[in-house]
């Protein structure tokens, strides 16, 4: 990120953080937290869980800040840390998510389904996917990231991302059909 409104660029804040200035890191966090919260919120079910996950992401970033080479914007590097931490979180909490329930599901394909209800229905169905499938389909369809970007951030090949997205869609359709039939 370049200089904005006289604020120091990310690179300056990173150098100050590495020199031991905690306030510089706080400024860096304030600048990028919205993006990280946006990603992490897709994989959490409560504010407390979201807060914990975001703290974990930024603490990881803080500990590995010395490895940031500045070859790509800091935002990309931080997103990669965020996506990988979210993936680890999904794997750790996989069994908890099997218990997710949804009452009175509105017909998912109905025209009048409300945005919030659509998200709840999707959250319910996404919770039943594998961590890999859930990560890919969420970033692809809800965050509207490209396959290339997802591949770059996860470290998976583009074809791998496509295969996982395809499988995720098949699984989602099956889950929603089964639930609708009940």
């Amino acid at each position: 990120m370049s200089v904005q409104n006289g604020e120091p660029p990310d690179e300056c804040l990173i150098q100050s953080t590495l020199a031991g200035d905690d306030e510089a890191f706080a400024a860096l966090v304030a600048r990028h937290k919205r993006r990280i919260f946006g990603i992490a919120a897709r994989f959490t079910r409560s504010e407390a869980e979201l807060d914990d996950l975001c703290q974990e992401i930024f603490i990881k970033a803080y500990r590995h800040l010395g490895k940031f080479r500045g070859e790509a914007p800091f935002e990309h590097w931080l997103s990669r840390v965020g996506v990988r931490t979210c993936y680890d979180h999904l794997r750790k909490t996989r069994h908890d998510r099997d218990a997710v329930a949804l009452d009175d599901v509105t017909l998912p394909g109905a025209d009048n389904v409300e945005p919030r209800r659509a998200r709840e229905v999707l959250d319910f169905a996404l919770a039943k996917l594998s961590p890999e499938e859930r990560l890919v389909i969420t970033l692809l369809e809800l965050e509207e990231w490209t396959v290339r970007k997802i591949a770059g951030l996860t470290g998976w090949s583009e074809s791998n991302v496509k295969v996982r997205a395809f499988r995720a869609r098949q699984s989602l359709k099956r889950i929603l059909e089964v639930h609708h039939e009940r």
Binding site: D22, F25, E47, C54, Q55, F58, G109, R119, K173, H180
Partner: protein, 95 residues
């Protein structure tokens, strides 16, 4: 369910992005507090040794001063030595 229905569901869900405003509030403060707490908890023993160095120095200084003042009364030492000798003689003679 077909692909069109699923795409429609995704499009509708995208209209309601998660609201993270409340969770973001004062996040930096909480994060820095946690970082500082972890840093303190993870401090190795030699860091504590350095932090306690002034205390150790004060103790050594106090002991030195006490030692100096404690031996500055020659009469007390003389008496102490004298009573030691008497006690020894009494023990050896069985009195």
């Amino acid at each position: 369910m077909n692909d069109d229905q699923l795409n429609k569901l995704f499009a509708t869900a995208r209209q309601a992005p998660p609201d993270t405003g409340r969770a973001e509030f004062a996040f930096e403060t909480r994060l820095l507090a946690r970082l500082r707490a972890e840093r303190t908890a993870a401090a190795p023993w030699f860091v504590w040794a350095w932090r306690l160095a002034p205390l150790f120095a004060a103790i050594v200084l106090a002991l030195g001063v006490w030692n100096m003042t404690g031996t500055s009364d020659p009469l007390a030492d003389l008496c102490a030595n004298g009573s030691d000798d008497i006690a020894l003689v009494e023990m050896l003679t069985g009195e």
